[in-house]
Amino acid sequence: MRALMEGSEAIAEAAIAAGCRFFAGYPMTPFTELLESFAKRLPEEGGACINAESELEAIGMAWGAAATGARVATGSTGQGLSLMQESMSEITRAEIPLVVFNMARGQGDYFQATRGGGHGDYRHIVLAPIDVNEAVDITQLAFHLADQWRHPVLIYGDYLLAHTAEAVAIEPRSAESLGGPLPEKDWAVDGSLGGSGRSRNLNPIGMEKGSKGIDPDRFWRLLQEKQDRIEAAEQRFEAEHTEGAELLVVAFGTLARFARYVVRELRAEGVPVGYFRPITLWPFPGQALAEAAAGARTVACLEQNAGQMIDDVRLSLFGSGLPASSVVSIGGISTDAAGFGIGPLLDTEVVRDRIRAALEGRAVDGVLGGPIS
């Protein structure tokens, strides 16, 4: 049954369908909306939603709840996500499955999301849905991947995703349909093993019970190997009209819907443009992008920031023979007075102009922030 839901409601429903039973957060637009949806629904499902007193406490609560093996989510927006970086980094090292919603104000947090804003070598799986329907799928997938890899998964959403209402049908997905059976949570800490000699310490620093100190080699190497495996296994993307495209537009998240719309329009008009969207921002689908861009003269990055994803595009195309000038930015910083990220770039007419300009080798400007290169 399809029902009309705003993104924030649909995501909460999808999370609950995926078995999420704990949520904690601190209000901040547009994350507040998600928090409200969870606060309303989780108690009805026998779960708990805590209005934490700050983002630091929210992610701490999520950490503790997830450590017991429950499916758990938290999140925030901008400033709040920045505050969580210390924990994000260390939760990754403690190998705790957790879903984190970054309900961002625009796309300026791409670096933070994909490189980890915290300390040390770590990456989160980052999924960026294009619309509410995909967010429903991706939310369920996120819980699956988190459990599969014992790794935090970040969902990169925004104001548009939280507020757009769509007709959606939410049905619990089986583990099989999401990638296969999941490992047992035999690492979880439920309190039952005290005094047995097999009690656990779920920790981010590789400390082992019964022995002093740690073996950093083994600890770090294993974590890095896991990340390498994730990188190989979990790249996801969407591509359209790449055959014969002279120009390939690359965009992610809700902004990609503007790009896809325009590319479809232009193609219908016979203009040779293609469209590529990373669904996983990390691992970035570099191989697929290189293939999609194989025939193109120009790769145009549409992102709502000063140029961040463009690095991953260039890294993916490194050594492909494309000259430096062939990868251009057609996005830019673009925001509204409230700072919610609803800027003038979110306009198919503007996007259309910029794609045409890139195709014709013209400079574009006139929109906030301007193009980057």
Binding site: L4, D131, F258, A337, I342, L346
Partner: protein, 192 residues
């Protein structure tokens, strides 16, 4: 690609605009359409305009939620109408409250239809439901959804603690629906 019908709703304060948008979206779902809508407020709790965009289609919607060019508009209050006008397509249709825009409404390349919405709302005993009158009128004019679907959707959309308004709301929708020539500007080709 599917036929997509975009409806801009604009007004000030209150919840009339958002409610009307929600009823339209719910009614369209009832009739098996694909739907997307996005409401925008001032951002914080305090003041500002209230707009909403609804897209109804006979297949998956490919328009993004912020719509640059649209087919139609419902103008509950003309205060924030200006920036919308250039977004209307030729062949588009605008329904407005003729009580509030007594001198008519410049709809640019679109065709404008005035409805004495405030008067009709009072007649329906639903003083603040001008938006519903206009919604009814718009649906009558375009046949985008049926009156029955509208009425049912309205029942779903109104929260329990406002159920005392159900009847008057229903009358407002019906009076509006009857106010303009039925299916004069059909939304769907097959319903023309």
């Amino acid at each position: 690609m599917s036929v997509e019908r975009e409806i801009f709703l604009t007004g000030i304060g209150g919840q009339g605009v958002q409610l009307a948008a929600k009823i339209l979206a719910l009614a369209a779902i009832r009739e098996g359409r694909h739907v997307m809508s996005l409401g925008t407020y001032g951002g914080t709790m305090r003041g500002g305009n209230t707009d909403s965009t609804v897209v109804v289609a006979d297949g998956p919607i490919h328009t993004p939620p912020i719509v640059s060019r649209g087919w139609s508009a419902i103008v509950v209050h003309p205060q924030y109408w200006e920036p919308l006008r250039p977004k209307l397509r030729a062949g588009g249709v605008v329904v407005f409250d003729a009580n509030l825009a007594a001198d008519g409404l410049d709809a640019g390349v679109a065709a404008a239809f005035g409805v004495q919405a405030s008067d009709l709302a009072r007649e329906a005993d639903a003083g603040r439901a001008g938006s519903l009158v206009l919604l009814g009128a718009y649906c009558g004019l375009t046949g985008i959804v049926s009156l029955e679907a509208l009425q049912d959707a309205m029942q779903d959309a109104v929260p329990p603690y406002r159920h005392q308004h159900l009847e008057a709301n229903g009358r407002a929708l019906a009076l509006g629906h009857a106010a303009l020539s039925p299916a004069h500007v059909p939304a769907w080709e097959d319903t023309a």
